[in-house]
């Protein structure tokens, strides 16, 4: 028996060695980096400071955080409103059709996010498909400015993250015990009451799981705001990217990442507390 155990350790060693060496240790390094003072030109000194964290309270950066969280929140609300009915209806389809719709929802996971965002650029730009359509219908005279606006970024976010809401909602509706809804109806609840008091409550874990899967990535998807917002809409993701690639203030970039990471883990922790589940298992 002893021998088997040793053998197992050898099997799991590579995965942990790799993850610890290339993910866990670098994460710790980032935390250290965020506490170091930036050198005048570039690089870091060995001096510890909290200045990088203090810098975030500058109104400019606070504004970025507020905008970014606002956009993430808006994205999440819209994906719930669109994704919940979708997941719900999908779960009620006949098995064959359901499998087909599931395939259609899953395919975007595989296709390149850039390509799909690029498709929206073709549709939304000034000389694009949508303006062309509206003008030939006689609804407008001059092309509307749609691309490079806040609305376009919101659209791109919702569009990219919608499947992450649909799937967990679908899973929770599918495994729901419908006899409870029937019981509610038998006891005199109307359809709306039964939905609000039974169905919604039972599928809430799915919605919460979707919330995590949509909210967390939407803080960091810098390329969507770059491409559809034309660089005018600044998100935390863009800020981190700029600190690293342009401003070359790595300690500040690291501090921003640490704060974002803490926010992420707080959200996941809260999710686990609320749903008493150890994983985002509605999804995986």
């Amino acid at each position: 028996m002893k021998k088997v155990k040793n053998y197992n350790w050898a099997l799991v060693l590579p995965i942990y060695a790799f993850t610890i060496l290339f993910v866990l240790i670098p994460l710790i390094y980032i935390v250290v980096l965020s506490l170091l003072r930036k050198d005048i030109l570039w690089g870091v000194t060995n001096e510890f400071t909290l200045q990088n964290y203090r810098k975030m309270f500058d109104p400019v950066y606070l504004r970025t955080f507020a905008d970014s969280l606002g956009l993430a929140f808006g994205t999440t609300v819209i994906t719930v409103l669109m994704g919940y009915p979708f997941g719900y209806f999908m779960a009620k389809l006949a098995p064959k059709r359901r499998a087909f719709v599931m395939l259609l929802v899953v395919v975007p996971f595989w296709t390149n996010a850039l390509v799909r965002i690029y498709g929206w650029m073709i549709i939304l730009r000034a000389k694009g498909v949508l303006n062309h359509l509206l003008m030939s219908l006689g609804l407008i005279d001059t092309p509307l400015k749609i691309l490079y606006t806040y609305g376009a970024v919101l659209l791109g976010m919702v569009y990219s993250l919608l499947p992450f809401m649909i799937l967990p909602v679908y899973t929770s509706v599918e495994k729901m015990d419908w006899s409870l809804v029937e019981a509610a109806r038998d006891l005199g609840a109307n359809a709306a009451q039964a939905f609000l008091t039974v169905t919604l409550k039972l599928t809430l874990p799915g919605v919460l799981s979707g919330f995590v899967l949509v909210f967390v990535p939407s803080i960091g998807l810098f390329f969507i705001s770059d491409l559809l917002g034309g660089g005018k809409i600044m998100l935390v993701g863009n800020l981190i990217k700029n600190q690293l690639m342009q401003a070359r203030d790595w300690p500040f970039g690291a501090a921003l990442s640490v704060v974002m990471m803490i926010m992420t883990f707080a959200i996941i922790f809260l999710y686990r507390k609320l749903t008493h589940s150890s994983d985002l298992e509605e999804f995986f």
């Binding site: 197992n8 050898a10 099997l11 799991v12 590579p14 995965i15 790799f18 993850t19 610890i20 290339f22 993910v23 866990l24 240790i25 670098p26 994460l27 390094y29 980032i30 980096l33 979708f86 999908m90 389809l93 006949a94 929802v105 899953v106 975007p108 595989w110 296709t111 390149n112 850039l114 390509v115 799909r116 965002i117 690029y118 498709g119 929206w120 650029m121 073709i122 549709i123 498909v129 799937l167 990535p217 960091g220 998807l221 810098f222 390329f223 491409l227 993701g237 981190i240 990217k241 690293l244 970039g253 690291a254 990442s257 974002m260 990471m261 992420t264 994983d279 298992e281 999804f283 995986f284």
Partner: protein, 272 residues
């Protein structure tokens, strides 16, 4: 059997799906449009594809992406599979914690992982380029293969392996004769998913790619920042075609004996 009535909810499902696929369809259609910048249809052409093939830097990026995808996928397939097998047989008390560590790369937002890699690799003094790309991609590919293989392992009847052991097979022999054939489809479909993720990745590659090495998505990103061009449409269409090929392959691989396909990706059974 009574034919199912048409339900208004189907209309909603169709509308959302249509919206989901509209941009993709646009990219494909306009890659065949003869006009360079106009939305109006000016005739069918394959000219943009020709131009694309003769564009040395685009082809270079395509080659890099394929090399990167194949190598990171192969490395992570070995590490992820072996890890999942080891974990399935073990009864460590710390199993849960260890699993969380293994999943870390896909729990952290991509942008942070990218920045972490950038900072750490330059701290180590690694030259940015293919090596750093492979390490980074391997790191985020491992969890995908790990999840899929772990899910498959959980569904295997343990008594088959025990029977083999009782009949005198060594641990090694049991793995290669029993376990491996049973989990092979899962390894393959996990690898295909990982390959697709590697082929698609923009955010992490953006941080760890050097000035000299372009991957296809990085190249596309820098081009579409400048605006819309039909050559990029052609390139995007090629990428889409590649992806659909992967999906079909994966679908064929995960078909069970009854002919019922398992959900192509991220499957729910993995955690159960």
């Amino acid at each position: 059997m009574k034919r199912k009535k048409f339900h208004p909810s189907s209309l909603y499902l169709c509308a959302v799906l249509l919206l989901m696929y509209l941009p993709v369809v646009m990219v494909v259609i306009y890659s065949f449009n003869a006009s360079k910048s106009d939305v109006q249809w000016a005739g069918f052409t394959l000219g943009w594809y020709q131009k694309m093939i003769h564009n040395e830097s685009l082809m270079d990026a395509l080659r890099n992406s394929l090399v990167l995808g194949v190598s990171s996928c192969a490395i992570s397939a070995v590490i992820g599979t072996v890890g999942a097998v080891g974990l399935a047989q073990s009864d460590f008390k710390t199993k849960g914690l260890l699993e969380n560590v293994a999943m870390l790369p896909i729990m952290i937002p991509e942008i942070i992982l990218g920045m972490v890699f950038l900072a750490f690799f330059s701290f180590l003094g690694l030259p940015f380029g293919m090596i750093t790309l492979i390490i980074a991609h391997t790191a985020f590919c491992i969890p995908y293969i790990f999840i899929v293989v772990k899910g498959r392992l959980a569904g295997i009847d343990r008594s088959i392996g025990e029977a083999a052991r009782d009949l005198g097979a060594s641990e090694m022999r049991m793995f290669f004769d029993i376990t491996l054939p049973l989990i092979a489809p899962a390894i393959l479909s996990g690898s295909l998913l990982a390959f697709a993720m590697s082929l698609d990745d923009v955010v992490i590659s953006f941080f760890v790619t050097g000035a000299q090495t372009n991957t296809l998505p990085i190249k596309i990103y820098s081009q579409i920042k400048l605006g819309v061009s039909p050559e990029i449409n052609a390139l995007c269409t090629v990428m889409l075609a590649l992806t659909f090929l992967l999906i079909l392959l994966s679908g064929a691989l995960t078909k069970t004996k009854k002919g019922k396909p398992i959900k192509p990706t991220i499957s729910k059974e993995a955690n159960q």
